[in-house]
């Protein structure tokens, strides 16, 4: 009996052990398969081309005006794209028209705005925000905040007007925002004028539909912190998603997803897991593959790190990517499982390469083209590295000296080196300020410094200077 008993105990133990072993094996296998599948999916995206196969196509019956905006190119049905905007008396802009869908040799709907500080990059993004929010929602921003958006002239404040055209399924609709002065330092959308427009019903329809689509805007300060910001909770979700554009101290709308996680964050985290390694190709950073998966964490040097504890450089890029995915999953009827390539929407991004090292900055735009091919991006930058990733017709170079307000580009910049982008596109001398100062002050070592370059070490510079002095001496001796 005791023997029998002991046998059954032993077998139970063994069976238990085997069971656990099999469990562990399955768990491990499951992890491996999942990881493999993810890597394969990432590789597939990597192999996508960034060359637009439809560039140069023309159909005979399209008017010249339509041709100028790549009207005919196939686009996801139902999605709304911004085609152009005309801004009048908005902040420091008197009048400016910008086209966003000019035919490009590269894939995706991208526009990159560049220009010196104060020329109006952020103003354009803000104007786009307003015109996409629509008359009613704009007023939610508050009369004081809107008041600051009007143009001030010597004689006083001038009423602003924003007019835009959007495209959906090859149908063009006008959107219009009249922003009127309303008391000292205040402004509001003139709802009466707006409603009396003959095409108001179509506009209202687009604005309603835009609320069901992803429209997100990120200012140059996009923060993630555990500070509870009570000021923004009164806004509707759509407006909240644009707030970093207008208020540098606002939190991102989805800060809760980032910080707390939980069940509702799961689909977002799943999407991010395939998106982030594509966009930020850094050895130092990868989303953890923790199986519970209800909190977004990253592995840095083999330790798990929360988003809030990430280095600043990664955080400002991760933050908007998380918010974008969260916005997508928040829409009514969103699938829990999403290929990022399915995401449609409009993303406005001030300073796209913010805080990133040039090596990461360099890959950012091409990778986003591949990873999010159906999202319309309207971004701004000061970085030559980012600028050189765009087609000339995707670039809007603001130039106060030009009558149209923008500089027409007659060549592609992606063939240029950073030096050339600096001097040709950005009107900035790529020389070192230290050197200029030394030349100015006639520093005795200035020649030694100037002769050094990526090909000439300090030692070689010395030799070159000596050789030149020797040549001169020799030549002088000859003809004396």
């Amino acid at each position: 009996m005791s023997i029998l008993h002991s046998i059954s105990t032993w077998s139970g133990l063994i069976a238990g052990l085997v069971g656990v072993g099999v469990g562990v094996l399955f768990f491990w296998l499951f992890g491996v398969i999942r990881r493999r599948r993810l890597l394969r999916a990432i590789a597939a995206v990597q192999n996508r081309s960034i060359r637009n196969p439809h560039y140069g196509e023309r159909s005979g019956d399209v008017a010249e005006e339509a041709r100028a905006t790549s009207f005919d190119q196939p686009r996801p049905s139902g999605a709304i794209f911004l085609e152009s905007i005309t801004i009048r008396n908005f902040k420091n802009i008197t009048r400016l028209k910008v086209d966003f869908m000019r035919p490009s040799t590269l894939t995706g709907e991208w526009t990159c705005i560049a220009g010196i500080n104060g020329v109006g990059k952020t103003s354009i993004l803000q104007a786009i925000c307003l015109v996409l929010l629509g008359g009613e929602l704009v007023n939610e921003l508050g009369r004081g905040r809107l008041g600051r958006l009007l143009r001030r002239t010597q004689v006083g404040v001038v009423d602003a007007e924003i007019e835009a055209f959007v495209l959906r399924d090859k149908i063009r609709t006008r959107l219009y925002i009249p922003l009127k002065h309303a008391g000292p330092g205040e402004a509001a959308v003139d709802i009466e004028t707006l409603r009396s427009a003959s095409d108001y019903p179509q506009m209202a329809k687009i604005w309603t539909d835009l609320r069901r689509q992803v429209v997100v805007g990120y200012g140059a300060n996009r923060n993630v912190s555990d500070f509870k910001d009570s000021r923004v909770t009164n806004y509707s979700r759509t407006v909240q998603r644009q707030m970093t554009m207008f208020d540098p101290l606002t939190q991102l709308a989805s800060v809760d997803v980032i910080l707390e996680g939980g069940l509702k964050a799961q689909p977002v985290i799943r999407t991010l897991r395939s998106l982030i390694p594509l966009v930020l190709q850094s050895e130092a950073l990868s989303p953890t593959s923790s199986i519970s998966g209800d909190k977004l964490q990253f592995s840095m040097h083999d330790t798990a790190v929360d988003v809030i504890d990430l280095p600043d450089g990664f955080r400002s890029t991760i933050a908007w990517l998380v918010d974008l995915c969260a916005a997508w999953h928040e829409r009514a009827g969103a699938d829990a499982n999403v290929d990022p390539a399915e995401i449609t929407g409009i993303v406005l991004l001030d300073e796209i390469g913010l805080h990133l090292h040039p090596s990461l900055e360099k890959a950012l735009v091409p990778q986003l083209r591949k990873a999010l091919p159906r999202v319309q991006f309207i971004v701004s930058t000061h970085s030559p590295m980012v600028l050189s990733g765009f087609d000339r017709d995707e670039l809007v170079i603001l130039d106060a000296a030009s009558p149209s307000g923008t500089k027409e580009l007659d060549r592609q910049v992606f063939g240029m080196t950073m030096d050339e982008v600096y001097s040709w596109l950005m009107n900035t001398s790529p020389g070192s300020p230290v050197m200029e100062e030394m030349l100015e002050k006639k520093d005795p070592d200035v020649a030694m410094f100037l002769y050094q370059s990526k090909d000439v070490s300090q030692e070689l510079a010395r030799k070159l200077i000596d050789a030149r002095r020797e040549d001169i001496k020799e030549l002088k001796r000859k003809h004396d």
């Binding site: 009558p403 007659d410 001097s423 040709w424 009107n427 001398s429 790529p430 020389g431 070192s432 050197m435 200029e436 030349l439 100015e440 200035v446 020649a447 100037l450 070159l464 200077i465 050789a467 030149r468 002095r469 040549d471 001169i472 020799e474 030549l475 002088k476 000859k478 003809h479």
Partner: protein, 328 residues
Amino acid sequence: MRKLTRPRVSLPTLVRIRAMYPFNRAGVAEFPLGDWNNPDVRGALYAMHGRICAYCGSPASDQRGDVEHYRPKSVYPWLTYEFRNYLLGCRVCNSSRKSTEFPLLSSAKPLRYHPRMYQDPDFLEKALASEKRLLLDPVSDPVDDWLDIDYEGDLSAVRASAAAAADRTSRESVEQTIQFFGLNTIVELVRSRNQQVTAAIGALREWSEGNIARGDDVRLLSNRYTAHGWAVRRVAESLAPNLPLPTAEEDLKWLVDETLVLLDIADGILKKPIPDKDRRQVINRRDESCWTLAILWKDPPAASSVEIGKWIDARGRRAAIEPFLARL
């Protein structure tokens, strides 16, 4: 900076604007902006000094440069469409350095408009010459005699020549100009000029030791119509007076040939299907080259009109240029 000769031609754009927009008493007119970029005006400037900046000698930005108002149009509106006020500048010299400034002697006031300036070119010329300006003018000042390269200073800095230093006004003018345009302080400018001069010095030494071919390298570098050619020329004249440098006529032949090549390139592009926007631009560039050739043909700074005609003929381009010549 090298001495320039302004061609004596009447450019269609300027003739048209003069006829259409009369000045008021203050010398102001409701001019259109930007017509100074028309192909005839640009072509004339290319004919005058090739595609290099009149002030710093760098390649004209973008191979095209900016049409520079020597006396800024904001201070001298009546010189907005006056050819004698135009030079070709690089973007640095035109926009960041010059902008709306035109330094004068501290006691002097900017020249005021007088209706006679409009009718009488000689009167205008005299009035302009009387102004106490500080910046060198490469057309009317003897800049070839006044500017020198300090090749012994390792950096090939620009400085006042012995002749200019002897006189207080000319010395001040030269020093002001050097400082104003940062001729010895802009890093890329100093670096590229110095590299060119260093290369020439090395070649000169080998030439002096019997390597004849290296003399040709120096001759190429000292072409008047190429970047920093004047600086190399100055150094070669001083260090190797026996080396024959290219004559004005030889350099001019180079410019004509180079412009004919540009014309061929433009024609090649126009044969291909390209977007309308690009086509308009190429035609515009082509016109500029045609104007350059026509202007050189009409009033060449060296050689003779007949000779230029022969050079153009040699490439079968007479028919392409003649219509432009007829409009001058």
